[in-house]
């Protein structure tokens, strides 16, 4: 059973529909108590870090996520969910959950002069790092995924990066540490290969 965290600003519907199309059992809830007994958790997100942290605290999902991370059970952060698991975000100077060491930075100001638009929006191919991850089983290196973000994960430990996407520089777009995996792109919006990643995660043993 896969749990999906619902905290008002997430794109939970898209994640839910992707799992539905995979035929995966899931439970979605605004109340952390409902997800205590699930096997793995997806922490999705579309939104703004400051607002999201406020909602996580209001629902009690902030402490749920800290406990979950410590429990050793699988966690998949998606987009904003991948950012908020770090210590701090430059987006409205927001203190985040601190499940992984590192921060979340805004794309540099010189992007405009280089003709690079912010947000980084659209389909970008990914390159594996540090041996990739079993999360990407069946996904050829160089496959395109859908990105929409203005901020990016900057882990303090490079060895947790499992994939990058070239946009001005090799932008970390997937990380893994122990039971925690996170992807900056939207697997639920990335057609066939995105669904494959969700299938890999919900099939269990991705860590």
């Amino acid at each position: 059973m896969t749990g999906i965290i619902d905290y008002n600003a997430g794109n939970i519907r898209s994640v839910e529909l992707a799992l539905l199309s995979l035929g995966t059992e899931y439970r979605i809830s605004k109340d952390p108590r409902d997800l205590k007994s699930v096997d793995r958790v997806i922490f999705p997100g579309v939104g703004e870090a400051h607002f999201a942290m406020r909602e996580l605290k209001a629902t009690g999902y902030d402490s749920f996520l800290r406990d979950w991370a410590a429990s050793g059970k699988p966690l998949l952060g998606v987009c904003l969910g991948s950012q908020i698991i770090f210590e701090h975000s430059e987006e409205r100077d927001t203190d985040c959950l601190g499940l992984l060491p590192g921060v979340v930075r805004r794309f540099p100001k010189d992007f405009a002069a280089r003709g690079l638009k912010i947000p980084h929006m659209g389909w970008n191919d990914i390159q594996y790092r540090n041996g990739g991850s079993r999360l990407f089983d069946g996904v050829p290196e160089g496959s395109d995924f859908y990105f929409v973000h203005s901020y990016y994960m900057a882990p303090s430990d490079e060895s947790i990066v499992t994939a990058t996407a070239d946009y001005g520089f090799p932008v970390p777009c997937a990380v893994r540490k122990g039971n925690i995996e996170a992807v900056q792109f939207h697997p639920e919006k990335s057609a066939e290969f995105g669904l494959r990643i969700l299938a890999n995660f919900t099939g269990g043993a991705t860590c």
């Binding site: 579309v46 939104g47 638009k117 947000p119 659209g122 203005s150």
Partner: protein, 254 residues
């Protein structure tokens, strides 16, 4: 590297897809959900749904349609039309849309862009803009609202820059002059707007050939090309378009 996006636009009226020329004489061309599924199979990068009469009738977004599309396709799609409040934005995103496009309501209430961006992130808030050539305007283009029927005092370039500052994450720029003509995009307009803002610009209106698309993605400096008639007519598939663009050296997702 980031690919240039090919976006198919479905104008929806009373639950059916329509297509008109210069916003008039709309004809029924099919079921939006079935059409979305077909373009998804063909490899489209993104879809845009405009509930084209919504602004004119002051009607909310068609949430049921959004839900059915979201069940069918697993790619991003944007919904525009009738979105005039933060609640509308929330309902649309929660129904499964990746982005919302605000057009007429943003002109009437520019703060809507900021309010939406502060809650959902700038990337969710797309400024939809209908522009028409007008020598009296500083940039040479005037913004129209209500489906291109009502002129405003807004200059197209000034509005684009202002909307970016307010928090818009993308601009879908439609040329009223070019829309539905299949004579090519408005390259001058697209290039001007795209080079003056730091957010992605989607070119819309006028696509008839893959050459038109290649032009707007290079000379027009567009980040994405929106098409409708080319594929709705059956003259092209998304796959054939992408192959043609790739053969011209344009990076697309194949």
């Amino acid at each position: 590297m980031l690919k240039k996006r090919i976006i198919v636009c479905l104008d929806v009226k009373d639950g059916r897809t329509t297509k008109g020329i210069k916003f008039l004489n709309n004809v029924d061309i099919g079921d939006p959900v079935e059409m979305a599924a077909e373009y998804y199979r063909q490899g489209v990068d993104e879809l845009v749904f405009y509930d084209i009469m919504a602004s004119a009738r002051d009607r909310g977004p068609t949430l049921d349609l959004i839900r059915r599309v979201a069940e069918t396709v697993h790619i991003p799609f944007c919904v525009g039309g009738g979105i005039s409040s933060v609640d509308d934005i929330r309902n649309t995103i929660l129904a499964g849309a990746e982005k919302v496009s605000v057009n007429s309501p943003a002109v009437r209430n520019p703060a809507l862009i900021t309010e939406g961006a502060n809650i959902f992130g700038a990337q969710c808030i797309v400024l939809g803009m209908d522009a028409k050539r007008d020598a009296a305007m500083p940039s040479g283009y005037r913004v129209f609202v209500n489906g291109g029927r009502v002129p405003t005092d807004f200059d197209a370039l000034e509005w684009a820059i202002r909307a970016e500052g307010l928090g818009a994450g993308e601009i879908v720029l439609n040329s009223i002059d070019a829309d539905g003509t299949r004579d090519g995009y408005e390259i001058t307009l697209t290039s001007m707007i795209s080079s003056h803002v730091g957010i992605p610009v989607v070119a819309s209106g006028g696509a008839g050939t893959t050459r038109h698309m290649a032009e707007v993605l290079t000379a027009g400096k567009a980040d994405a090309a929106l098409i409708a008639s080319m594929v709705h007519s059956g003259d092209f598939t998304v796959g054939s378009i992408k192959k043609a663009l790739a053969s011209e050296g344009i990076a697309v997702r194949l």
